[in-house]
Amino acid sequence: MSNYFYILVAALVSTVIRALPLTVFRKPIKNQFVRSFLFYVPYVTLAVMTFPAMVNATQSKISGVLALVCGTVAAWFNMSLFKVACICCAVVFISELIIL
């Protein structure tokens, strides 16, 4: 039974965190610094989460690096989310077949 309470407490807290700013900030923020900060946040967060985690996620660091390089090139040329993700998976699978 108590497992459900842990889950419920966590769900309540995380839902408030997720929904609060969206419901409180109902008007555009005018402050130049805040606007710039929020513009950069998504790129910074995602970049920070991608490296070095991507290289450590795979069985071999080499396949992770190859996937990072191939994924970056594919994304640079505006390929879709799905295609870039597939390319990365394929690169890891094939390179690990060869090196492991």
């Binding site: 497992n3 459900y4 842990y6 889950i7 419920l8 407490v9 966590a10 807290v13 995380s14 839902t15 965190i17 997720r18 929904a19 700013p21 969206l22 419901t23 555009p28 130049q32 606007r35 710039s36 900060f37 929020l38 513009f39 950069y40 946040v41 998504p42 790129y43 910074v44 967060t45 995602l46 970049a47 920070v48 989460m49 991608t50 490296f51 070095p52 985690a53 991507m54 996620a57 795979t58 069985q59 992770g64 996937a67 994924g71 970056t72 594919a74 994304a75 640079w76 879709s80 989310l81 295609k83 870039v84 993700a85 597939c86 990365c88 998976c89 690169v91 890891v92 699978f93 690990e96």
Partner: protein, 242 residues
């Protein structure tokens, strides 16, 4: 509300489902390993699925299972969730600037609930106002991958070959790259910022002190510090649009 968007609700939701497929695959891999961990602390399949649906965050769910395993108090559970998920405050604030001002409360809560690192990225990546139905479509398919992965991890952890899990595990990061690189190509500041992020993020995992902190907290610290510095040095947009 209905005529803000050029496409119908159904089209928007379908587009969300399509963009959500790689996320669902990545979540499947992540939550599969979470499921294996859940089983160790005595969480059953139903509890795992409920947790995945309601919390849908890797660090957040990991926190739940480790708190259960440690027999922590509910207050500790709440504080831990706040710490590991604090970055969603930033993401939700960023989204608040991109939803139409007339968006009703229920959709604001819905868009908020859908926020994960990855769904936030693709929803914000769409030009124009954030379409709640796009968010819901992407959420439905990816939370399905998340719940399925958890359930299978709990029931049959260890059955999938390691090669497949290893390949799946980069799907998420491939998606991240697809979200940030096109902007890097068009904006030199973003490109240089990304390179700096890679370097600093790497240093944060090896330098003594900061490398001891949990991954979620490290992400928050790096995000706030780097974004603040870049926002001061290179305000965006360069000229006010008023």
């Amino acid at each position: 509300m209905s005529n803000i968007f050029k496409i119908s609700r159904k089209q928007a939701a379908l587009e969300g489902v399509k963009d959500g497929v790689p996320i669902a695959l990545g979540y499947f891999a992540v939550s599969f390993s979470l499921g294996i961990f859940a089983k160790k602390v005595g969480v059953d399949v139903i509890q795992g699925i409920i947790n995945s649906f309601l919390n849908h965050a890797s660090a957040g769910e990991y926190a739940v299972y480790s708190m259960i395993g440690a027999g922590a108090t509910y207050v500790e559970m709440a504080i831990m969730t706040l710490v590991v998920n604090a970055r969603y405050l930033l993401m939700s604030t960023a989204l608040s600037q991109r939803v139409h001002p007339d968006t009703p409360m229920i959709h604001r809560i819905g868009i908020g609930f859908h926020v994960t690192d990855e769904l936030f990225a693709i929803s914000l990546n769409k030009p124009g106002y954030v379409n709640p139905y796009y968010c819901y479509g992407a959420f439905m398919i990816s939370v399905f991958g998340w719940c399925a992965g958890t359930a299978i991890g709990i029931v049959a952890g260890g059955i999938l070959p390691l090669r497949i899990v290893s390949a799946f595990s980069v799907a998420l990061y491939g998606m991240f790259l697809a979200c940030i690189m096109p902007a890097a190509r068009n904006n030199r500041v973003v490109a240089i910022t990304i390179i700096c992020c890679f370097i600093l993020s790497y240093l944060a995992t090896v330098l003594p002190g900061i490398s001891q902190i949990s991954g979620g907290t490290r992400t928050i610290i790096l995000t706030i510090v780097i974004s603040t510095v870049v926002a001061i040095l290179f305000p965006y947009p360069e000229e006010s649009d008023e």
